[in-house]
């Protein structure tokens, strides 16, 4: 099926990255027997049955938070390389509509977009294998919206070629009863900047994987928040420092309750020649009840001898003393817990640079927390 087609497709392309050679060559539904991915259980899940869960859910399912943004800023756009996309001035956003003939192998040239924000709605496409190329120094923000009962039967794949000195910001919003499988591959050429923010809320099953390949003098920032989900939520990141002087900073925060399982595995891989690498990775979980589970597995694999790399991982419940402090000021435990949960993922929100996207994300978090 599509997975094989996808792999075949990737193999035929020229760029040799660690990702293509070693990781995607195996079936993306990795078996839990593969040591590298010990927490995965996704191969046991029948995704076609996932929609049965939907009726059992009793969670908030509104997405009104998107309405204002859509109305005031967003214009529909046609995805053709022959048309220059410029709608309603640079402050507005463009939303790609469903006119893509071959979504399985489509190359977007983001240089053609003059808007600051470009929105891609995954629910419009059954199959996706998008390649994005960007060469400009001007920062562009891509919003990937993955929502509304969107059940991915096959992985949706994105590949970003971020060329020299270009600067790109990506916001992934996965919410509302999704079963979501997304693959990202980022090829960062020298001196490029990627700022990826991931918000995952109110989903049934998730498996999102993020592969980065960094050239020299690159900056790579990943911030993720996973909250109010059900089922199994897998996030995997692999950051390869291929050349010297790059820095990567990853924070991933999960708030786990309702018996959900959250897995995070992140690896920083430093090549032998990638001296002066500065890598940082932190995964934190807030585990709110006894039936839920959180697995965090930070990893470093370093072959260079002059690098600064650190990682950390914590799992905790809400701090009782903080809760008491709120109570002693007349704030109920329920409201205090909500504020403290928001505070927990505030750092992720702060990492979003575009102000209107920050507002949008803030609304989304308030909606689902």
């Amino acid at each position: 099926m599509n997975v094989d087609k996808f792999i075949e497709n990737i193999k035929n392309k020229e760029i040799n990255t660690y990702f293509q050679k070693n990781l995607l060559a195996v079936n993306p539904f990795k078996s839990h027997k593969i040591e590298n991915y010990k927490y995965s259980q996704l191969n046991k899940i029948d995704f076609n049955k996932s929609h049965n869960y939907i009726h059992e859910l009793n969670l908030n399912t509104k997405d009104n938070f998107l309405d204002d943004f859509q109305k005031s800023k967003v214009r529909e756009g046609i995805s053709s390389d022959h048309i220059s996309w410029n709608f309603n001035g640079p402050d507005s956003a463009i939303r790609l509509s469903g006119l893509i003939e071959d979504p399985f192998n489509h190359i977007f040239n983001l240089d053609n977009i003059n808007n600051d924000i470009c929105i891609i709605d995954l629910s419009l496409y059954e199959e996706i294998n998008f390649v994005f190329n960007y060469t400009k120094n001007k920062k562009i923000s891509i919003v990937i919206i993955d929502s509304n009962y969107n059940i991915h039967k096959s992985p949706k794949c994105f590949k970003f070629n971020v060329y020299e000195k270009s600067n790109i910001e990506i916001l992934q919003m996965s919410y509302n009863k999704n079963t979501s499988l997304i693959f990202y591959e980022f090829n960062q050429f020298n001196s490029s900047v990627v700022n990826l923010t991931v918000l995952q809320a109110n989903n049934i099953h998730l498996r999102n994987e993020y592969y980065f390949n960094l050239g020299s003098d690159c900056i790579c920032r990943i911030s993720g928040a996973n909250f109010s989900n059900l089922g199994i939520n897998d996030n995997y990141s692999f950051i390869q420092h291929s050349k010297p002087n790059s820095s990567s900073r990853e924070i991933f925060k999960s708030i786990v309750d309702h018996g959900a399982i959250t897995n995070f595995q992140g690896k920083i891989y430093v090549n032998k020649i990638a001296q002066k690498t500065d890598g940082y990775q932190m995964s934190r979980s807030l585990l709110l009840d006894d039936i839920s589970k959180s697995n965090n597995k930070p990893e470093l694999e370093i072959y260079a001898d002059d690098v600064k790399c650190s990682h950390g991982s914590t799992v905790s419940n809400i701090n009782e003393d903080q809760l008491y402090y709120f109570n002693s000021r007349g704030i109920s435990s329920e409201l205090a817990a909500k504020i403290l949960k928001k505070a927990f993922i505030q750092e992720v929100l702060d990492s979003i640079e575009n102000i209107s996207l920050k507002e949008l994300s803030d609304k989304m978090i308030n909606e689902f927390l």
């Binding site: 701090n319 003393d321 903080q322 008491y324 402090y325 109570n327 002693s328 000021r329 007349g330 704030i331 109920s332 435990s333 409201l335 504020i339 403290l340 928001k342 505070a343 927990f344 993922i345 505030q346 750092e347």
Partner: protein, 247 residues
């Protein structure tokens, strides 16, 4: 206002309060002094309702209601305020947001409409100026990277914003330099009126130079051993706890 009768409380197996009786009327300021480990802070935590502490005996009547039956936020909303010795750091929560949430929680409890952003900002600006607080501080995360003095000022700011009926100040003077002590005390004095009461817990008589108490109590080994007026604090300063607390 507050009537404590033979209050006994413990933490784990350890008895800390061994029969405290204290009565505070409207408009009065009481000072509670005592050596380390005498139960001063425990009394303040028991009154605010921290669940680590267990009340074994005695009654506490607050404005005609049984205080011990209420949970922490009910006590606060009924007008009890505890200024902490070590205020909690809350990363990710802006100080001004916290204050607004607290005020609106109290207003909601009293069936008053919530303050809107503008009204709140006006009130906050006024109160912050009184305490000589830099407005930038209010944009930072609550108590995170605050100096000792800033934390205490922030507690007194909460006090003046929430306007409680009974405020307990738990060693508010510790960690303050002389100027900060004066500013904090002035803040407390401004909040003082005929309708509210204060219980000031301290080791040192110095704070009482600024906040003049109507009554002074000495607590030792979980009991109030001596009560008197302001002169008792001076006497204590002169003679030390060891001698005074024996009686």
């Amino acid at each position: 206002m507050l009537n404590i009768n033979n209050l006994k409380a413990s933490i784990g197996d350890k008895d800390i309060l061994k029969g405290v009786s204290l009565s505070i009327n409207k408009g009065e300021v009481h000072a509670l002094m005592g050596p380390n480990g005498s139960g001063k802070s425990t009394l303040s935590y028991v009154l605010s309702g921290k669940d680590k502490y267990e009340v074994n005996e005695g009654t506490v009547d607050f404005k005609g209601k049984n205080l011990l039956n209420m949970n922490v936020e009910e006590r606060a909303n009924n007008g009890l305020f505890l200024a902490f010795q070590y205020p909690m750091e809350i990363p990710g929560v802006q100080t001004s947001f916290f204050l607004r949430t607290a005020i609106n929680a109290k207003r909601k409890f009293n069936n008053l409409p919530e303050l809107d952003a503008l009204e709140f900002a006006k009130l906050l600006k006024l109160k912050a100026q009184e305490l000589n607080i830099n407005p930038d501080m209010l944009k930072r995360d609550l108590n995170v990277d605050y100096s000792g003095g800033e934390k205490k000022k922030q507690e007194i700011l909460q006090l003046s914003m929430l306007n409680p009926d009974l405020a307990i100040l738990d060693e508010t003077d510790s960690g303050l330099d002389i100027d900060a002590l004066r500013i904090v005390s002035e803040g407390v004095n401004k909040a003082r009126n005929k309708e509210n009461s204060f219980l000031v817990i301290t080791h040192y008589q110095r704070l009482l130079n600024y906040i003049k108490p109507d009554f002074v109590h000495i607590i030792a080994d979980g009991k109030i051993v001596k009560s008197g007026d302001y002169s008792l604090a001076l006497e204590l300063e002169d003679q030390g706890y060891e001698k005074m607390a024996k009686v």
